[in-house]
């Protein structure tokens, strides 16, 4: 399977408008809803906050990796967002963030193991400093996919 199967240009937004964590989560969730990945924005965001309550999802390097398992998820994927402005977010290095990876995971454990594996592979890439630097400079959603699948 290919990483391109879980990435899609219509859920990559390099010009997020939100200025708070909650606004960013809703904005990205709206994209997921519009593209048919989730069935219920409120339920999905609620489930993300369940994971947020368990520990920090600011990964340092101005990146946040909110994620939640939710019954509202139809299809496993990852939404990518970037903002021109920094947003306050609980983070390991106590820096605000502007690059967001919203993991969209079904709560059905047995469902789509292959896709979960791709998600894990993508998560590993987010740990690579050089790749994150490239993403900070990406101009188009297509370029983001290019960088993440290189």
């Amino acid at each position: 399977m290919d990483l391109r199967e879980i990435l899609s240009e219509d859920i990559i937004d390099l010009d997020l408008k939100g200025t708070t964590k909650d606004e960013i989560l809703h904005e990205l969730s709206q994209h997921l809803f519009d593209a048919g990945y989730i069935t219920d924005i409120d339920q999905f965001v609620k489930d993300i906050y369940v994971r947020e309550a368990a520990g920090i999802t600011g990964a340092g390097n101005h990146i946040a990796i909110p994620h939640g398992k939710s019954s509202a998820v139809k299809k496993i994927t990852i939404a990518v967002g970037r903002s021109e402005h920094y947003v306050e977010w609980e983070s390991y290095d106590e820096q605000p963030v502007n690059l967001f990876f919203l993991f969209c995971v079904s709560d059905d454990e047995g469902f789509a193991q292959n896709h979960m594996r791709l998600l894990a592979e993508l998560a590993g890439k987010i740990g690579k400093d050089s790749l994150v630097e490239a993403l900070q400079g990406a101009q188009t959603p297509a370029e983001v996919i290019e960088i993440l699948t290189a």
Binding site: R51, A54, G55, I56, T57, A59, G60, I65, H67, G68, K69, Y92, D93, F101, F103, V105, E109, Q113, M116, R117, L119, A120, E121, A123, G124, K125, I126, G127, K128, D129
Partner: protein
């Protein structure tokens, strides 16, 4: 040095894999061999063999949930929360180098 390790985070979706990559990159940048096993929601990947564990100078276990450490009972184990490796993988490796004198 030969470094092996295990990562395991709360949800087993994101941190486990990000931290594994960060430790790997920091170790290799400092000239060490490194292999990290990830224990996530999809199970264990990149599983450490008995030979690899036996040959390792140190075992890094970065975790927020329980990890079975029976395999490492005769090894030097660095037992840390995920956050330590996430925050500063370079200084984690540097600290280990200092402690082991390598």
């Amino acid at each position: 040095m030969k470094i092996v390790g295990v990562t395991a985070c709360t949800a087993g979706i994101a941190h486990t894999y990000i931290v594994a990559q960060k430790i790997q990159d920091a170790a290799e940048a400092a000239g060490h061999e490194c292999k990290i096993e990830t224990q996530g929601t999809i199970g264990a990947d990149n599983i450490l063999t008995d030979e690899e564990i036996a040959a390792a100078d140190v075992v890094i276990i970065a975790h927020d949930i329980a990890v079975d450490q029976a395999r490492f009972k005769d090894k030097k184990v660095v037992d840390i929360p995920i956050s330590t490796a996430m925050k500063n993988p370079k200084s984690l490796i540097a600290t280990i180098e200092k402690k082991l004198g390598k």
